[in-house]
Symmetry: D2
Subunit: 367 residues, 4 copies
Amino acid sequence: MAGSTFGNIFKIMTWGESHGKGVGVVIDGCPAGLPLSETDIQQYLNRRKPGQSKFATPRKEDDAVEILSGVFEGKTTGTPISLIVFNKNQQSKDYSEIASYYRPGHADYTFDAKYGFRDYRGGGRSSGRETIGRVAAGAVAAKILKTLGISILTYTRSIGPVSIDMEHFCADEILNNALFMPDKKAAQEASAYLEACMKEQNSSGGTIECVITGMPAGIGDTVFDKLDANLAKAILSIGAVKGFEIGDGFAVAAATGLTNNDAFCLDESGKIAKKTNHAGGILGGMSDGSPIVFRAAIKPTPSIASTQQTVNKSGEEIAINIKGRHDPIIVPRAVVVVEAMTALVITDLLLSNMGARMDYLEKIYKK
Amino acid sequence: MAGSTFGNIFKIMTWGESHGKGVGVVIDGCPAGLPLSETDIQQYLNRRKPGQSKFATPRKEDDAVEILSGVFEGKTTGTPISLIVFNKNQQSKDYSEIASYYRPGHADYTFDAKYGFRDYRGGGRSSGRETIGRVAAGAVAAKILKTLGISILTYTRSIGPVSIDMEHFCADEILNNALFMPDKKAAQEASAYLEACMKEQNSSGGTIECVITGMPAGIGDTVFDKLDANLAKAILSIGAVKGFEIGDGFAVAAATGLTNNDAFCLDESGKIAKKTNHAGGILGGMSDGSPIVFRAAIKPTPSIASTQQTVNKSGEEIAINIKGRHDPIIVPRAVVVVEAMTALVITDLLLSNMGARMDYLEKIYKK
Amino acid sequence: MAGSTFGNIFKIMTWGESHGKGVGVVIDGCPAGLPLSETDIQQYLNRRKPGQSKFATPRKEDDAVEILSGVFEGKTTGTPISLIVFNKNQQSKDYSEIASYYRPGHADYTFDAKYGFRDYRGGGRSSGRETIGRVAAGAVAAKILKTLGISILTYTRSIGPVSIDMEHFCADEILNNALFMPDKKAAQEASAYLEACMKEQNSSGGTIECVITGMPAGIGDTVFDKLDANLAKAILSIGAVKGFEIGDGFAVAAATGLTNNDAFCLDESGKIAKKTNHAGGILGGMSDGSPIVFRAAIKPTPSIASTQQTVNKSGEEIAINIKGRHDPIIVPRAVVVVEAMTALVITDLLLSNMGARMDYLEKIYKK
Amino acid sequence: MAGSTFGNIFKIMTWGESHGKGVGVVIDGCPAGLPLSETDIQQYLNRRKPGQSKFATPRKEDDAVEILSGVFEGKTTGTPISLIVFNKNQQSKDYSEIASYYRPGHADYTFDAKYGFRDYRGGGRSSGRETIGRVAAGAVAAKILKTLGISILTYTRSIGPVSIDMEHFCADEILNNALFMPDKKAAQEASAYLEACMKEQNSSGGTIECVITGMPAGIGDTVFDKLDANLAKAILSIGAVKGFEIGDGFAVAAATGLTNNDAFCLDESGKIAKKTNHAGGILGGMSDGSPIVFRAAIKPTPSIASTQQTVNKSGEEIAINIKGRHDPIIVPRAVVVVEAMTALVITDLLLSNMGARMDYLEKIYKK
C-alpha cells in the first residue's frame, strides 16, 4: 500500500525526511475557486514550529511554505496544489552512533524489519517533520470548511496528571500559553510538572481534545466509512497517539442505556437537537448536528536523556544515552496536527457526501 | 464514497438490510489456493448468532452461509468470493410507529438527514445483521492468517463495572460462557449485573480486548496507513464502538518516557524482543514482533424498554417505549466482529507489504 | 489488485462463474432516491440474453435478476444494491477434456499461469456470463443518467467486411434486427456473411459504435482520469475487445491540424458549440458538450469447430476440435455490455465532478 | 476524483503548470532497495526535451530533475520519492489575447466549463510540460522492470502517410533520428512530409508502437483490471491520443476465428508458446508470455499558425492566428511518454499480482 496517501476525493500525498532536502505535500482534488495564499497555510505551520517555548526544541527552523502549483490569481484552480518546505537546518553531523542501535519507543527497529535498512538521520520519515505535509494540507481543508461555516477547536486537555478544569475553560487562552491549554491555571501547573520531568531527564504524555462545530447532520457513511472511524484512523496515524475516543468514549463501558442515550428534543428554532451529547455528535457513523467531540492519548516523548537498555545492529544488548535536546512533551506541537487531520477527514467526507442523493445531482446538473 | 467497501487488496463489499431478502459480502482479491469450505465461515457466524443465551435476543435465525462463487474443488480460485446469508425470520409486522419517530442512540435521525428517508424496518442497514458480511469475510481472512502462523484471540474484558482479573485469565474459558469472558468468576459477576440491568429495563456497556500473536515484524506503513491507524478505523467502524486504544492506550497520558518506553533485548533464541510491551506490539505504525494488544469501548444497547424522550417526524416532542425484546448488552456478540475486522486489516496489510522490498519482487519474479 | 471492482464513487463489485451457483454484482455508492425496479434492470439483461437468434447460442437461460438489497418502497436508499442472477442451465457434463488442454484465443493458459489452476467449467470467470453483473449495474447507472437528460445509443457498426452506411442510419432499426445494426440492408448482408462463416466452422469479428448525447461540458479530469481514458479502460475490460478509438480515432494519424481541428462557433441559441466533431466530444479529457462518439473492435469468437493446434497440460502438442455450439460472432451480444460500461463511467465521473468547484459545495451545504 | 493520481500500489501524483514554479511528481509505494540516481531519471526526461530538432520547439528548457526525498545512500528507502523540475524559461509575456478566446483542439473551453476559469498561461495544467511528472516516475518504474528482466521498446510507427517498413525495422535507429523511427528511410520521408506541413502552417498526426518483452505469463486481472484495459487508460490519458489497439487491434474486426486465433505450441526449450501473436501478448486480460504489442494514434498539433475560426469569452465568433512557434508534430516527443506510462502500468500490476497466490504469501512470510 502507498502509505503516504490520504483521502478519497480531497486526496493528499506527503513526502520528505527530517534531514533530506525538504518536506511537502501534493493535494489532488481541491475544489476550484477557493481563495488561497501562503499566509493561510503558514499560520497553521507556525503553530507546530519548534523553538517557541522552553518545552520545545530550540532548533530554529523557518518552515516557510511555498505554493508551487494549483493556485492562479489567488484562487485554487482545481489542479494539484504542491506545497513545499525546504529543510534549512541540517548540519552534517555524525549519525554513526544512532545508526548502530535501536532507540526504545522509536521506529528504528520496525523500519529495518520492513525495508531492510533505513534513513537513520534524525528519524528519517518517522520524524516529527513528517507532519508538516499534513498541517499544510489541513490548512487548505480548514479554509474550505470555514467557507461552509464549520470550525474546529483543538487544545491540550491534559499533561501528565494535570487536566484542564472544564469550569474554567477559556478558548481565548489556548494560543496564550505555550502548552495550548484553554485553562490558565492548568497550564501553569502543567508547566511546573514538565520542568520537573526535564530535571529528571524524563518526559510526559497527555491528551488532546477536539471540537467540531457547524457540521450539517448526515455526514459520514453508515458502515465502514463512519465519520468516527475515519477520524480514528486519521488521529491514530499521527505518531505517538495510542488511543482515540469519541463523546463519552471509554466511559461508556461502565454506563447504562438510560444514562448514555441522548434524548432528542427541539431547539428554540424548532430544529431537531439532543438534550445531551454523550454520543459526541455522531450516531450510526453520521454527524447528528451536535458538536463532534473526541480525544486522543499521546505517549511521552520516547527520546529521553536517561540511560536506557537496548540492542545494537550487531545483536548485542547495550546501554545508551540519547544525545541532543528533545522536547519533554509531544502534546503541544501535536495539537495543530490533530486539527489538520480532522479538517482533512471532514472535507473529504463532505465532498463524498455530495453524491449521496439524487436531488443533489439534480441541483448541480439538471438543466 | 462507497461506504460499504473495505480493504485495498483484500477488498470486501458488504450489503443487506435487517429485513430485506438477505445479507452478504463479496471478497475481491483473495489469493488463490486457500482451502475453504462453508464450515470455515459458519463457525465464525455461529459466534455472533442470536438466541444463544439469556442476554441475547431469542429470535431464532439460522444464519447459514452459502458460498456462491470463487471456490472450486475446495480451494479459492483467486476470483471474487460471494457469500450470502438469507434472512429467514422477517415476519411482516407493523413498522408504522418506529417509522414515525427517532429512537435515541440510533441512526434513525442521521439516516433521514443524509438520504432524505430510510428503510426503517428493524434498523435497515444499521442493524446488527449488517455485521454478518464482516464476520463471513473475516473468517476467510482468518484462515489465511492461520496458514501463516498468525492467531487472533478476542474476548470480553469488562461489562459495566465488572472487569476480568488478568491473574485468572484463561483462554479456554472464553467459549465456555455466554459472555465470552476469559475469567469464570468475572463472567458470573457480569451475569448477575446484567440480570439487574434487565430488571430495570436498562442495558450495559463494556470493553473488548484483542491479542494478535505470530505477527512478523515490519507490517504496516509509516505514515497514514499505520497498522494501529487501520485497526482503529476497522474497530470504530463497528456500530456502538466509542473508543479504541492500543497497548497502554489512554494510560500513556499520565505515564513518563521512563515508564512507557519498552527496552529492546534479545530473547533466548537471540532474536530481538522487548522487555515490556507498553507499545502494544506496534512502533511507528509497524508491528514490532511482540503481541499486538488493543481494546475497544462498546456503548450500552440503545434500545431499552424504559420510557424515553424523543421527537417524531411531525416535529413534536414525544415520550416513547421501544417494544420488543432487546439484548441488554452488545459486547458478547461484538467479540467475533472485532476479531473479524482485525483479521481483515492484518490480511490486507500483509498483502500490501509484499511490494515493500525489491528482494521480495525478485523472490517471486526473477528467473 | 481486486480485479472485479470498478468505479470510484459509483463503485461496483461483480462476481460469479459460468457454472457456479449464479452471477451478480453489488453497487456501493448509488445515490438515494432513484426509482428502481427489477424491470429497469431486466430490460438491459434481455438485450444480452442468448438464444434470441440463429447467431446466438440456443441455450435457454432465464437470466432473471433479483434485487436483494438497497431498494425500499421502490427507491434506492443509498445503501449497497445487491443484484443476483442464479445460474439455471448447468447440467453436470464431462469437462475432463476441456480441463486437459489450452484453447487458442481463450484465457485457459493465462489463468493457470496466474493462479496455478482454474475453474475450467464453461470458461469459469472468463465466460461471457461474467458480463451479467456489468449489464445489471450499468442499467442502474443508465437510469441515473436518464434522470439527468443523458442518453447512450450503442449499435453494431460492422461485421466482418460489412459496415453500416451512415447515409442509411436509422436508430429505430437497432432493436429490429438480431445483429443490432442501425441499417436494415447492412444487417441483411452481415447476416448472409455470418451464415457463410458458420458453414465453414468459422467466426467473425466486428465493431461497435457508441454515442452519448446530453452531456454537460466539463465532465472528466485533465490528467490521468480523462473521460476518454476511463472509457478506454472500461471498454477494453470487456473480453474480446482489441481496440478503442474516440472521434476520428486512428484516422487522426493521417490527418493534419487544419482538417482535424474543430472550429468553435455559436449555435442558434447562442451557446458555444463546434462546427465539426473530429474530437468525438472530448477536449483535454473533458466533455465539450458535443456528442461523445467512440468505437470498439471486437475479435472473432475464438471457439470454433474447425480443427486447431494447441498444447495440453502434459506438455504435448495436440490437435483439438472444440465441441458444442458457439456463437459465430460476439459483437451483437456485446453491444449492451459496451452501453453498460459507458453508463458506469459517465455516472462515476458526474459524481466525482460534483466536488470540482467551491460554488457546487456552497450550493449543497451553505446555509 | 483526484485526477492527477495514478496507480494502486506504485502510486503517483503529478503536479504543475506550464508557467508556474515547476512541475513534479511524488511516487508513493516504490519498493525499498532499488538503486536510483538522478541520472536514471534524467536520461528519460532528455528524450522528451524540446529544442532537439527542427520539428520541436526551440525553447531551451533544462528540465533538470532533482530527487527531494525517498532515496538514501543511492537506494530507494520505501518512502515517497519526490521529484521536481523547476520551470526556468517563463518570461512574463502578455497572455491577455490567449485568455480571451478558446483555441480549437485545446482544453481552454472545457477547462472553463469544468472549473469556471483557468490558468491560461501556456496551457496551464494541459500543457505538454504536464508529462514531465509522468516520464520521471516512469523512469523509476522502468528501472524496477529492468531489474526483473522486462524491457519496453517504443518508437514512432507512422507520421502522416509515412509508415515504417517492418522489413527494415532497426531498433538501433530509433535514437538516431529526431523522429524516433526505427527505419532510416521512413524517417527521411517523414521528415520531408513534415517540412511541407510547416510550410503550409499546418501540422501532422501519427502513430506510436510499443513492445514489451520479458513479461512473465499471468500478469493482469481477469475482469475490470485487464492488463490491456489498464494500458488503454494509461495511453489514452496522454493528451492528443485518440486511439489504442493491442495486437491486431482494429484489424480483428474483419478477421475470422481461423485467422485470428494463435495456436499454442512448445518452443525449443519445451515451454508453452504461441505460433503467432495476433493477440498482442494478452489473453483474457493477462499476459501470455509473448511480447505485448500495442499502438496509439496521436492527433496533429492543434496549435497551427493558419487562420482559424473560434469564439471568444464575450460570446463572439472571431478569426484567430495563434502566435509563437509550435511543433508541427506531437508524436516524437510523446514516444517516451508512452513508454513511461507503460512502465507505470506494468510495475503496478506486477506488484498487485504478488498477492494472487497463497504460495507467494508463504514464500515471503512462512517461517
